[in-house]
Symmetry: C2
Subunit: 350 residues, 2 copies
């Protein structure tokens, strides 16, 4: 399968040029010497424009999710766009209760982007995929002229296997259920914003970017099928937006207890300094769960026993409310509406 | 599931702003009133961050393919980026002999892009998907600042069902096999380039952009399993590049007959005027097939009986050649090497 290329890729000084996306020899060399090597697996090695893959076990359904990643800056405390692109899509698949199996990756590169940075990002993707137990089985690379892109955009699409009888989704929350959160909020958004604005805090705040499929598997193993109604990762728009989506889909109201929502002290301080409401700040390694109240304690224990759920907490409950309001009892004992994000908060956070 | 939005979307004068990608109310409104409406199907209606889908029939494998689309201009004679984004990925799935079932779509929009153009593009995608018999089941939208993108980029990812025992791929060509081409070459690239350069030809050349899954199904029904070794659509880099990929993957040589390669007279004339070799010009509705010689005539007849294969022809044969050269007997009776595309030809052609 090797071709003799005219010259080796210059991984130190080299830059992406339009030929890397033109489908000729330069493009083939980039695929061979970067993507195929980093992501190596039997399906990618087929070398076709798609991959032929084992289907999920009999009786299982498919889950499919896609996410474009345009985060700026590309490298931030705790991660980079490569790892994030794997985590984001793995998590979307896992949030339906499916086991993530395969990822496809599409790169849109800007002419002039440093090949050294691309290599770092691709290797970060490969490491994240290995850690999450998924294979990157097919991909595509395009190049746009300088000034028509922004370094690299990565769209990942995931396919997973959904066991028979499993029904987890945003529409399944019922009055009486409880709302759980897997850990502290706001780290990803604050880490990215502080990098972007060159802010220095006393303690370095790092993104929580992580794959959550392991945590989800541990949770689902701890309670009977059906006990977990909804799982969702509060990324763009944060916990507030995600809970409003669930309230809308399920036709219910939600009551939160502000004091129960876990948050690092330095994240709270940074949000105050930056004028951000942490409820709207993106997370990339946390999940919200809605569960039947009688199984909530067992679920919470399973979450706390997992490294990605150590700070898990019950933060609220589902109520009947035709207006589908998300309300919160504040630390001071008042009650306020937690509305949809209306203005812009943090663009290009993922 | 409906939310009362503060104001209606202005489809005439409105433009994409950063809020459309921020995960809040504006983003939800765009999803509700554009994507969900145009692509409507039971899986998209689930409204989650992924879709739960019926698996392929028992015994079938999965096929997965992804393609980023960055074509410029977005609208060109014979199509637009929306239809192209569906066709490109449907075809990649079909080229492995699989039946395309589902598509995921990821949009990266530039701030300031006209919502009217976005609507046209999305409706074109919906029409292309309906015609190809696939459902767009999940999606994502991001927005980047003005000057950090170029209108819209669309990554589509397809999943298909591959019947038991089917093995079609670039590595399966064997000496003695024949090479078939489904129709005339070069229309897509020439149509896009003429639009880009504002060239006018006497006869309007239109892109051949089309889904080929119907043609593939007709071909595979006409010959025994195994007779078709390889299918591939000669997009970026054209017929020459695709044949070099097949030669490389299969470890064989290919001999082409230039006189047998179908081409419209005005495409040949335009290529001469533009200094392009039509063998390297992108197609978006054509396929190359490598097949066992004893079934070649039956396959050719099946291709010609299908609307997308009317001009199909046998254009060459597979030979043993460790150097994996693609050679061509020219119209004048000489022989030349058809090498990989080395320099840049047409960037952003798909």
């Amino acid at each position: 399968m090797k071709t003799d290329y005219q010259r080796p890729i210059d991984w130190r000084q080299g830059r992406v040029d339009l030929n890397h996306g033109a489908g000729g020899r330069a493009a083939a060399q980039l695929v061979d010497e970067l993507f195929a090597r980093a992501f190596d697996n039997e399906w990618l090695r087929q070398g076709d424009d798609g991959a032929a893959l084992p289907a999920p076990p009999p009786g299982h359904r498919l889950v499919m999710a896609t996410d474009g990643h345009v985060i700026s800056p590309l490298f931030f405390p705790g991660g980079d766009i490569g790892g994030l692109a794997v985590h984001g899509t793995v998590n979307d698949v896992a949030m339906l209760g499916a086991t993530p199996l395969y990822l496809a990756a599409s790169f849109i590169l800007e002419e002039g982007f440093a090949l050294a940075e691309l290599k770092t990002i691709v290797e970060s993707m490969a490491a994240a995929a290995r850690e999450a137990g998924v294979a990157i089985v097919t991909g595509d690379t395009k190049v746009v002229e300088r000034g028509k892109g922004d370094g690299v955009f990565i769209t990942t699409t995931g396919v997973g296997a959904l066991p028979p009888g499993r029904a987890i989704g945003g529409a399944n929350a019922r009055p009486g259920d409880v709302v759980l959160l897997s850990g502290t909020i706001g780290e990803h958004g604050v880490a990215v914003l502080s990098q972007r604005e060159s802010l220095e805090f006393e303690t370095r705040i790092v993104s929580d970017t992580a794959a959550l499929n392991g945590l989800v598997a541990a949770m689902l193993a701890a309670v009977p099928e059906g006990a977990v109604r909804t799982l969702r990762d509060p990324t763009r728009g944060g916990v507030a937006t995600t809970l409003n989506e669930i309230a809308r889909q399920s036709g219910v109201g939600l009551h939160l207890d502000e004091a129960a929502i876990p948050m690092q002290a330095q994240v709270a301080a940074a949000c105050e300094l930056l004028g951000l409401d942490p409820l709207y700040v993106a997370n990339e390694g946390k999940l919200l769960a809605v569960a039947a109240s009688e199984h909530a304690e067992a679920l919470l224990a399973a979450m706390r026993a997992h490294p990605r759920g150590r700070d898990a907490a019950i933060i609220g409950r589902v109520v009947a409310d035709e207006r589908r309001f998300v309300q919160m009892t504040t630390r001071l004992g008042g009650r306020r509406i937690v509305d949809w994000l209306s203005g812009e908060q943090l663009p290009r956070i993922c």
